[in-house]
């Protein structure tokens, strides 16, 4: 059964779209990532124009993350207080990141910087998370002993405006999550992704949030970020296909519910190593793609 997508201008099998959405939604609910890194290329592969794929992807993330965030909220995994600070920091960082990209584009180096940032950030975050969670899994309970504050933690603890975040069980200066998220926002804007891949590990390792709360809180902030992006894409580029987004959303919302429940069955360490594996696979695929001679020297502009 096919359906005609009015903005994309193509006819696609309805069940294929719902199925693709469900797969991405599963990952989103389980790991707190938006899934844009996976969905946009899949949509392009099945015949959606690149600009429409990228914009409609943001719209479906709104649905998937709202469904996933609600599921996590009921489980007590959303730190609204910390999430709000992260959101403001992320938006500020994204605004700076967009300006950086504009300047790099003017200099003609934007694509090189974006690509290298992708590989370095994904490789660094994925590699660290993989090794850390592998060590933790190997040593079992010993590795899960209470973390001793190091020099960095002590320094952070001396910063002004310390705020307690009971849901996450941590205390930080308000500047720490704000600046951290601003940095992730800059990276996300440069890389053109939602930032879940970077945000969740940062929350776990630098803010010392429990993995499940990091996932739920990340979905909470992704919801607002992607709502803003969807509105801007629709208003400026007219490339959001609502029919496509809603079909993907139906699939991804269901997938996110299942993902959130499956994630609950796994321990934090297990979730971390799975996420690290996916991050590393994406990084390796990108790195190989950079070195191999492409089959075509031309590609459609995705928009950024």
């Amino acid at each position: 059964m096919s359906i005609f997508l009015p903005v994309a201008g193509v006819s696609i099998n309805l069940f294929l779209l719902v199925g693709v959405g469900a797969l991405v939604g599963f990952l989103s609910g389980m790991f707190g990532v938006g899934g844009g890194f996976l969905l946009t290329p899949i949509l392009m592969m099945i015949g959606i124009p690149p600009t429409v794929a990228a914009a409609s992807d943001s719209c479906q993330i709104v649905a998937a993350s709202s469904s996933g965030a609600m599921a996590h909220f009921r489980m007590g995994n959303v730190d609204v207080k910390l999430g709000s600070i992260l959101l403001v920091g992320g938006l500020a960082g994204a605004a700076v990141g967009v300006r950086i990209i504009k300047a790099l584009r003017a200099m003609g180096n934007a694509d090189l910087v974006i690509t290298l940032t992708y590989v370095v950030v994904l490789g660094g975050v994925g590699g660290y998370m993989f090794l850390e969670s592998l060590q933790s899994l190997r040593h079992g309970a010993l590795a899960r002993k209470p973390h001793k504050p190091g020099a960095t933690q002590s320094l952070l603890g001396r910063l002004p405006m310390q705020v307690n975040f009971p849901r996450s069980g941590v205390q930080h200066s308000i500047f720490v999550p704000f600046l951290l998220c601003a940095f992730v926002g800059i990276l996300a804007a440069i890389m053109g992704v939602g930032g879940g891949f970077i945000m969740v590990p940062m929350m776990v390792y630098l803010l010392r949030m429990p993995m499940h709360v990091a996932v739920g809180t990340d979905l909470f902030q992704i919801l607002f970020t992607c709502a803003g992006v969807t509105f801007m894409q629709a208003n400026t580029n007219h490339t959001v296909d609502l029919v496509l987004a809603l079909l993907l959303a139906v699939g991804s919302s269901i997938g996110a519910q299942i993902g959130a429940r499956v994630g609950k069955l796994l321990r934090g360490d297990q979730l971390k190593i799975l996420l690290a594996t996916i991050v590393l696979i994406v990084m390796v695929k990108m790195a190989v793609g950079l070195v191999l001679t492409p089959s075509s020297l031309l590609s459609y502009a995705k928009g950024h």
Binding site: F4, V62, S66, A227, V243, A245, S253, L298
Partner: protein, 271 residues
């Protein structure tokens, strides 16, 4: 002897009566040739892009002057396309600059009794862009420093991968000759990636490497009903459409969460 003389007279009179007819044929078209004009008809001539549109089968029929061969082309309007160009920087391949390509149809399908290059000479093919080689030549690539054969060939390959460029996409079938000429027909599946718009379907009657006659018709691909309304809203009321998109996505997410949580409570969905 007498019988042979009479037969000779009859033959002479027949030859005499036939001579003016040949003479007339040399100065103006014979009535039979005028009747054998090239025609082209489409079924359907409008493809409606409705909500559950899943592609369409198009049939082209017509008649051609006896002794000619048929080449049918379907072309979409030309549009300039901007693409990323990959280049090697050290050991890595990255997007390095934009390439703009114009002068190529957005869609090109060709069908013939034989391949186009066997029916027509190269100058004619190039002049009317009747095959892929002609389209390759006719492209305009800018900036000029990126105008390389590999760029043109990659563009052609992209279009072929999308199935919007298909040379010798199918055979044209010829029927038995009649007073109106030779009937021809072809049938093909309309490419699903072709965007809404107006497409020119042109039939050429070919003889001796030249085009003897052409006839064309228009095939319109048009959004109607809900898709037309939705596309119009997205184009003309971007902010309202954006707001609607966000609200609809939120409703979908919360709605599914509500259903899932109810099912979860009833034990349908494992926690």
């Amino acid at each position: 002897m007498k019988r042979q003389f009479v037969s000779g007279l009859i033959l002479l009179s027949l030859a005499w009566s036939a001579a003016p007819a040949r003479g007339q044929g040399a100065t103006q078209p014979a009535p039979a040739q005028t009747a054998q004009a090239l025609t082209v008809a489409l079924s359907p001539s409008r493809i409606l892009l409705e909500t559950f549109y899943s592609g369409a089968q198009v049939r082209v029929t017509g008649t051609a002057p006896a002794g000619t061969e048929i080449l049918v082309t379907v072309k979409g309007p030309e549009a300039e396309e901007e693409l990323n160009r990959k280049a090697r920087v050290g050991p890595i391949w990255i997007n390095r600059g934009k390439v703009r390509i114009a002068g190529a149809p957005s869609l090109f399908l060709s069908f013939g009794t034989r391949p186009a290059r066997e029916l027509l000479g190269r100058p004619v093919l190039d002049q009317f862009q009747l095959d892929e080689a002609a389209i390759l030549k006719g492209m305009r690539v800018s900036p000029k420093e990126f105008d390389q054969p590999v760029i043109r060939a990659n563009f052609m390959a992209m279009k072929k991968n999308q199935n919007v460029y298909q040379e010798a996409a199918g055979p044209v079938k010829l029927g038995p000759a009649g007073p109106a000429g030779v009937p021809y027909s072809l049938e093909f599946h309309w490419p699903r990636k072709a965007p809404p718009g107006s497409y020119k379907v042109e039939a050429a009657a070919c003889r001796g490497g030249a085009v003897e006659a052409t006839a064309s018709s228009e095939l319109v691909l048009e959004e109607v009903g809900f898709p037309a309304w939705m596309a119009g809203l997205a184009r003309e009321h971007g902010s309202l459409y954006g707001l609607l998109a966000v609200l609809a996505a939120l409703l979908a997410g919360f709605g599914i969460d509500f259903v899932a949580s109810r099912l979860g409570k009833k034990g349908v969905m494992a926690h």
